[in-house]
Symmetry: C2
Subunit: 160 residues, 2 copies
């Protein structure tokens, strides 16, 4: 039967349509560029990088963009308060280290990445792909800003 | 006409239903408790409060919860790097001051508050109500975490 004017066929509730739309948003389409520093970078230089790049999280890499650790504003603030000689301490001393880092993959949904941030109480998740035994290449990041932007796009203008 | 099984009346596209649902989410139903410090609180004590309360933004008040300023992690990190005597510097010296603060109200939509964060590149907005001439009482906050949580709720389980 063809839908009459004013009706549309669905078989699905508005509820389901909404969930399906949100679950169609993928990490690969929303990821942004990760800002990385090397393991031997000093805490002082890392703080400068965070300001210059205006990001809340830095990723620490070794070799060919192999994810080694994460530096949050909180990690750096804690180090800055500790009266250390900030130019002498490498970030590898204060970072959170792999594999104790929550990551996501290109073909994860954006909702999954957002859920991971909520469950693990972190501000961002790096997007990685497996690059060998116990090695992950960092290829992007999803942050709470990414999620807030997607939310605003959904609420202000959307095409299903 | 009554809708047949498998059809539902709407007159609206799925698109419109989604936008309307998101725009029905209100600041008053999502706001969380603001963490406040006094104008004379030292930068050192403010950093400790930020750690203990595990928040990214502190609000500075005077008198009866009158919003006076905002302290971001970035403001405090900048002060901590400056080799100041952190226990001697009051937060009023390093905070962003009213009226240069983006705020929202109880009856704003959550999408509006999220849009304000995106447009002004801030991590949170205080929820205020007018308390006199050039005076605003702080009664809550909306953060990017609030928005990410709402997004996850929408995508995982929703009732329209």
């Amino acid at each position: 039967a063809r839908p009459r004017v004013g009706y549309f066929y669905s078989g699905k509730s508005a509820n389901q349509l909404l969930i399906e739309h949100i679950q169609s948003l993928m990490v690969k389409d929303y990821k942004s560029r990760p800002v990385v520093v090397q393991e031997k970078t000093s805490v002082y230089d890392a703080i400068c990088t965070m300001f210059l790049e205006d990001v809340g999280t830095l990723y620490v890499v070794k070799g060919q963009n192999r994810l080694s650790g994460v530096l949050s504003r909180k990690d750096l603030l804690k180090a800055a308060m500790g009266n250390h000689e900030l130019t002498a301490v490498p970030v590898s001393v204060v970072m959170t280290r792999m594999p104790n880092i929550v990551t996501c993959k290109l073909d994860d949904t954006l909702v999954h990445a957002a859920g991971q941030m909520m469950r693990h109480q972190v501000d961002s998740v790096p997007v990685v792909r497996i690059a060998g035994d116990e090695e992950w290449e960092i290829i992007g990041r999803i942050t709470k800003t990414t999620i807030a932007r997607a939310f605003v796009e959904l609420g202000e203008n959307i095409s299903i």
